[in-house]
């Protein structure tokens, strides 16, 4: 598994400087996406998954900003790039799919044009005709029926599934090295979800690209991911290849997440079995952020933040329970 890391995030801190104080949305995250692998980032709502992804794309809105850390894409540092430099990377080497396919497409522009635009901006097509041809090709590849005709449709004329396919086409058309998908199927129904996931898996294989997929659905993780990061309150709490994680989960929070997966069908309220709520990111104390909800919490947990301990090859866990084995 000595694959080269496409994306290498080190000690990333992204915070929001609000009137009430500093919200530490991403609090020292390390994350790797190797070439040709699909990496999942899971965690409860509000734990900082989207902010991690948006930090890569330079999409953190005021009053938030990247405070410190490093984000390397193919060895190139992205933190601190000028807006112009970052824009030349985005859409070309790395692209992103958002959760809401309706609101993520511009309602007053034809979908074909919205995809062609990426090609033209990054000089992947020199003429409009060429851009159009490549876009129709891409529409066909992502399974949009009657691709030629759909080019001149407006977003509101397409179904949710088709819109998300347009988003994928838009993200894929410049053949990026890395694709970031922020809950790409959350807004879609289960059949469409399966189709979209299959499509992403296939594209990952064909282009040997890396994919970072954000989700709070462990079913999606089991379906397509190779590696998984579990995030809690702005920090990574466990990281392992997918089978390792499902078979040998070590962090009490990961365990809670897994226990909460409904056994048969549906996915209602899958977090209901973890007592308590995500702590307020405004007031993170010194101790383990999960201590307040953890059945195994000791005084030490409440006083001191555990480090990420290596518990097996490629398997790390941020919990004192894992400390002994780790050393």
């Amino acid at each position: 598994m000595a694959k080269e890391n496409l994306l290498e995030i080190r000690d990333l801190h992204t915070s929001f400087f609000t009137d009430h104080g500093v919200v530490r949305a991403v609090n020292g995250v390390d994350l790797d996406v190797p070439e040709g692998r699909i990496v999942g980032l899971v965690g409860e709502s509000g734990c900082g998954k989207s902010m991690t992804a948006r930090s890569v794309m330079g999409l953190i809105k005021s009053p938030g900003r990247i405070e410190s850390g490093s984000i390397k894409l193919d060895g190139r540092e992205l933190v601190g790039l000028s807006d112009r430099e970052l824009r030349s990377v985005c859409g070309d080497d790395v692209s992103m799919i958002f959760q809401e396919p309706m609101t993520s497409l511009n309602p007053v522009l034809k979908v074909g044009r919205q995809v062609e635009e990426v090609l033209l901006v990054h000089h992947k097509a020199s003429t409009k005709e060429e851009a159009k041809r490549l876009t129709v090709d891409m529409f066909e590849r992502v399974g949009i029926p009657e691709a030629e005709k759909r080019m001149s449709a407006y977003p509101h004329e397409l179904s949710g599934g088709l819109r998300q396919r347009v988003m994928i086409a838009m993200a894929m058309v410049c053949k990026p090295r890395l694709l970031i998908a922020d809950e790409p199927t959350t807004a879609l129904d289960v059949t469409i979800e399966a189709q979209i996931l299959r499509l992403m898996k296939q594209l990952c294989k064909e282009h040997h690209m890396g994919i970072l997929i954000i989700t709070h659905n462990l079913g999606v993780v089991a379906e397509i991911c190779d590696d998984v990061y579990v995030m809690y309150a702005g920090r990574i709490v466990e990281n392992a290849p997918v089978f390792e994680l499902f078979d040998h989960k070590r962090h009490p929070y990961t365990e809670g997440l897994m226990n909460a997966i409904p056994k048969i069908g549906g996915n209602p309220e899958f977090l209901s079995t973890i007592p308590g709520v995500v702590p307020n990111l405004l007031h993170v104390g010194d101790g383990c952020t999960f201590a307040g909800r953890c059945a195994h919490a000791s005084d030490r947990c409440r006083a001191e933040m555990p480090a990420l301990y290596e518990v097996a090859e490629h398997h790390t866990c941020r919990c004192f329970l894992a400390e002994r084995e780790g050393q």
């Binding site: 807006d83 985005c90 992103m96 511009n106 309602p107 990426v118 901006v121 509101h156």
Partner: protein
């Protein structure tokens, strides 16, 4: 297309209603048109004859329908004071008003939209505060004050522009600024708030994620969305300017619709007043219709419905 025709047909009752309203109002207010027409010395016989000629002895409803019947054929009666057909007078005055309105609108739109965009981009920075302060002044200072101020400083003191209109384009610049200033202010505010709102939308993030620069994000993605309500407002503003800038035209003595209406009021010239008000109403209605149609041309989500 069917909808458009429907909308146009829908204008008819509105116009009839407005005509009726003017008709009644002008007959409710005191002052007898016949005596105005005749002046000081006249005999009862003359009064009766004139009343008959002017149909003023007929029932009001009959007067109304004969007025409407004539109006449809383009005959709005004859001005008491100027002794010429009202239609001719209006058509003579209209070009001046159109010239003034177009110039004022052009000034208002260019200044308003540019200031709005810059203010939005520099949100809460110095330029934003400066422009918004100016636009607040634009919205709240009455037109007659702007007019008199411009006239005094630029024409009277600095002698850069003619004091009053002399038909040349240069003499229209000051009145156009005075008339457009308010509109520029409201357009700037609307453009700014619309743009700031749109810049928060998800599809703007998509555009940035695609690798577009800030300028293309604004020009290609944000502007069209944020301009929808502004365009509607622009069309309505233009039509209200076209319907006669009463104050501006009076101050700068521009022989337009607004001045025609003022003189009709001063002279109690009923056919002329009736004619100008009716004409104005038509212009405003057309303006609103145009605004609606424009909106649906720009917004694909409602284009289907038209």
């Amino acid at each position: 297309m069917k909808r458009v025709l429907g909308r146009i047909a829908g204008m008819i009752p509105v116009l009839l209603g407005v005509t009726l309203l003017i008709f009644i109002l002008l007959r409710v207010v005191p002052g007898d048109p016949v005596s105005i027409l005749l002046g000081e010395h006249y005999s009862q016989e003359t009064i009766d004859r004139l009343t008959r000629v002017m149909d003023l002895d007929k029932p009001l409803i009959q007067q109304f329908f004969s007025y409407v019947g004539n109006a449809v054929r383009g005959n709005l009666g004859e001005s008491y004071t100027m002794k010429r057909p009202v239609t001719t007078l209006i058509l003579q005055a209209f070009p001046s008003t159109v010239k003034l309105a177009l110039m004022a609108a052009a000034i208002a739109w260019v200044i308003g939209i540019l200031a709005g965009i810059i203010a939005a981009v520099r949100q809460n920075k110095l330029l934003d505060h400066l422009f918004m302060g100016m636009s607040l002044a634009g919205v709240s200072v009455p037109i007659f004050m702007t007019s008199l101020f411009l006239q005094y400083v630029l024409s009277f003191k600095l002698k850069l522009f003619p004091l009053t209109s002399d038909g040349r384009l240069i003499s229209l610049i000051l009145p156009a600024i005075a008339l457009g200033w308010n509109s520029a202010g409201s357009i700037a505010r609307m453009t700014r708030s619309g743009l700031i709102d749109v810049m928060q939308q998800d599809y703007i993030d998509t555009a940035k994620a695609k690798g577009l620069t800030k300028a293309s994000v604004i020009l290609k993605h944000a502007l069209k969305n944020s301009m929808l309500p502004v365009v509607t407002m622009m069309a309505i503003q233009l039509s209200s300017m076209m319907s006669g800038a009463v104050i501006t035209e009076s101050i700068f003595s521009i022989p337009g619709i607004g001045r025609l209406a003022t003189s009709a009021i001063q002279n109690r010239d009923m056919p002329l007043l009736q004619g100008t008000v009716l004409f104005t109403t038509i212009i405003v209605i057309i303006g609103n219709l145009a605004a609606d149609l424009l909106y649906s041309v720009l917004d694909p989500r409602i284009r289907r419905a038209v």
